[in-house]
């Protein structure tokens, strides 16, 4: 079975049919349904045009910079020692290959907790994987890139926590890229059964300063009454391009807290979709961005309330330095009859340079009347009144600005229950300011 060869090179770039065929050969052990989904995804990828300036879902983005050329679709992996400030990873991927694994405690294994690769999961937990893997809709505009991910994804993590089991320590997965032009397709699939609890950390990092192409996804499924904390820390090299697609499904009385930290990449787009599917579902969506140099961070979010009595709370904060640029485009959708929805959406941009540019598109689409929906967006420099207050206590202007800037992030970090994670994230943020 071969992939279509008819698609013009301009639509496939560094990912032509031959590259896709090569990818498929590397997945010899994968089940037929997986390969079928990938073939369909490749068709979609090759058929879709590149985003255009006039596409509403790409408004304010630099679409001219979205080249598909100059990358290596199936880069080779060379063993490299990778360290993560979050600790020892349970699974470490480099250039789409597992390079390191550390088993979860035996007690958890006994309880049925699974932390493994997608390929192994396909063999050992076929039904689970088939139900959840590549099963989420793409609604935020990156159809082409999401399809590219679905076509090429092979290496990725599968985290499964059975009913009623609580995993106390964070499950850590690192996704790394190395070598000029390497394309990586990180994937993390988390499934929490009824009343399960877990914290999962994805750390995205470059092993060198070369330009990489990262096109990843993380799908989170929170079953009935479960509680999931998800951290995504993106620290690709400054010359890389990054696309990351998140889909979160929240079932009855479940609660998901996700915090994405965006530091790396030359141009990074992050799409996050929360589907609140049953009463009592709650999704807390947090993001922090430190943008400097000429970086562009493009964040698109969607909070869909599909059932009554659901709650979502979004807080995205961007600090902009130098000539950096950020875009936040968020939408809260309340379906008809999703009464008693409580939805909040907030984007705060802190301007630390006169050359930076922040765009905000906070949106609402409400079709039920008994709801509490609010959003807000602010863009400003450090508040001169706060600055004066600190100075009036004897703190110098420079020190006051630093305190206030870190305070800007702390408001989000304080939402985390885990102090160790809070500390690692704070250190990562502070290191950006010391460059």
């Amino acid at each position: 079975m071969s992939a279509p060869t008819s698609a013009p090179r301009s639509l496939t770039g560094s990912f032509p049919a031959e590259a896709f065929a090569q990818h498929l050969t590397s997945l010899a052990g994968a089940p037929a349904w997986w390969l079928d989904r990938q073939r369909a995804a490749y068709e979609t990828y090759a058929g879709l045009p590149m985003p255009r300036r006039t596409d509403e879902s790409w408004r304010f983005s630099n679409v001219v910079g979205l080249s598909l050329d100059g990358f290596t679709a199936n880069p080779a992996a060379s063993p490299t020692a990778l360290t993560s400030p979050f600790g020892t990873p349970h699974l470490a991927f480099l250039n789409n290959t597992v390079v390191n694994r550390n088993a979860v405690p035996a007690e958890l294994v006994r309880q049925g907790v699974v932390v493994t690769t997608l390929v192994e999961a396909a063999a050992q937990h076929p039904e689970l994987l088939r139900a959840h893997f590549m099963a989420q809709p793409q609604k935020l505009g990156s159809g082409k890139f999401a399809a590219l991910h679905s076509a090429f994804v092979g290496a990725g993590a599968f985290v499964y926590v059975p009913r009623g089991v609580e995993v106390k320590e964070p499950i850590l997965i690192t996704h790394a890229a190395a070598g000029a032009g390497s394309a990586v397709f990180p994937h993390t699939l988390v499934v929490l059964e009824e009343n399960a609890r877990a914290t999962v950390v994805d750390h995205f990092v470059s092993a060198d300063d070369a330009a990489h192409f990262a096109c990843g996804a993380n799908d989170l499924y929170a079953g009935h009454g479960s509680q999931l904390t998800y951290i995504g820390a993106q620290d690709w090299s400054r010359t890389s391009r990054s696309f990351q697609f998140n889909s979160t499904v929240v079932r009855r009385d479940a609660r998901v807290q996700s915090l994405n930290l965006h530091l790396g990449g030359r141009q990074a787009r992050h799409e996050s979709l929360s589907q609140l599917q049953a009463p009592g579902a709650f999704s807390e969506m947090l993001a922090l961005t430190v943008a400097d140099d000429t970086q562009e961070f493009d964040q698109r979010t969607l909070q869909i309330h599909q059932a009554p009595n659901t709650k979502s709370d979004l807080l995205y904060k961007n600090a902009l330095r130098d000539q950096s640029k950020t875009i936040f485009s968020g939408l809260i959708v309340v379906d008809p009859d999703a009464q008693k929805t409580d939805a909040y959406q907030s984007n705060r941009n802190l301007m630390l340079s006169d050359d930076a540019e922040a765009s905000s598109l906070p949106g609402l689409e409400i079709q039920a009347n008994d709801v509490r929906c609010t959003h807000g967006a602010t863009t400003s420099r450090i508040d001169p009144e706060q600055e004066f207050y600190l100075q009036a206590r004897g703190i110098s202007k420079a020190a006051a600005d630093e305190l206030l800037t870190f305070g800007f992030f702390e408001e989000v970090l304080n939402r985390l229950e885990s102090d160790p994670l809070h500390d690692v994230l704070r250190t990562l943020i502070q290191s950006q300011f010391k460059k």
């Binding site: 207050y389 600190l390 206590r393 305070g407 800007f408």
Partner: protein
């Protein structure tokens, strides 16, 4: 023994002159109260002395121990011993009280010197206990979500920790119920003594029942129009500010 001398001070906001020739000397150990109707320049005076960038001093002098502070930035004035208790304290998102005060104390140390953390916390908790501020507040962001009374107590806490030479207290009584007022007054009274001079700005006599001033001044139209002892405050309470206005009008008509 220190002195804060304010000499013929003129302050403008934008094009508008608010303080018009204010003169007063405060020595350590003294408590001066400034009373006056709204919009008469009381708050402007305190912010201008503290160095708020929006307030332009067009004429006059402010000296601490004989040295002008007008060329100093707000933080340098603070370190020279001026403390402003704000009427409306700013909410500082994400900066905890503990970190904030630590930064403020650290700023007062010489380069390379480090604050003794355990001594710091010991002192902080002690002051908090006295002001009846829950110790949990140390990890809360400065003033964020505080009630009016909590904000004012937090101001006094900062004053107690930073040990200024002179405290300018801008309508510290506003928005306080009687219990909070008592706690705040006790806090200030505890700090009274030979090392502190206080300028108490207030609209109502009420606060002066709790913090008894050595001197009372009436401010009107940007300057002091009457001075006396604490009995002046009572007279003012009885006769109202119209009395001052009338007297002032007669005086300037002459």
């Amino acid at each position: 023994m220190s002195s804060l001398e304010i000499k013929n001070l003129h302050v403008s906001i934008g094009e508008k002159e608010i303080v018009k020739g204010f003169t007063l000397t405060i020595n350590s150990g003294e408590v001066h109260a400034i009373m006056g109707p709204n919009g008469t320049g009381k708050s402007t005076l305190s912010k201008a002395i503290a160095g708020h960038p929006d307030y332009k001093i067009t004429q006059g002098e402010v000296l601490v121990d004989g040295k002008s502070i007008l060329e100093l930035e707000a933080d340098e004035r603070a370190r020279a011993g001026i403390f402003l208790a704000f009427q409306y304290p700013s909410e500082i998102t994400g900066v905890s009280i503990a970190n904030f005060l630590r930064a403020a104390l650290q700023a007062r140390l010489a380069e390379g010197e480090e604050l003794d953390a355990s001594a710091y916390y010991k002192r902080l908790y002690d002051k908090m206990d006295r002001l009846k501020i829950d110790r949990k507040f140390t990890s809360r962001a400065v003033n964020e979500g505080f009630s009016g009374g909590e904000k004012k107590r937090c101001e006094i806490l900062q004053m107690a920790m930073l040990e200024p030479k002179f405290a300018l207290m801008d309508e510290t009584d506003s928005g306080l119920d009687i219990d909070a007022l008592r706690i705040v007054a006790e806090g200030v009274n505890a700090m009274r003594g030979p090392n502190l001079g206080v300028l108490l700005i207030t609209h109502y006599q009420r606060l002066l029942d709790y913090i008894v001033p050595d001197h009372v001044h009436v401010m009107y139209d940007g300057q002091i129009v009457k001075s006396g002892d604490k009995s002046l405050a009572l007279e003012l309470e009885a006769k109202g500010y119209d009395w001052v206005k009338k007297e002032f009008a007669t005086a300037s008509a002459r």
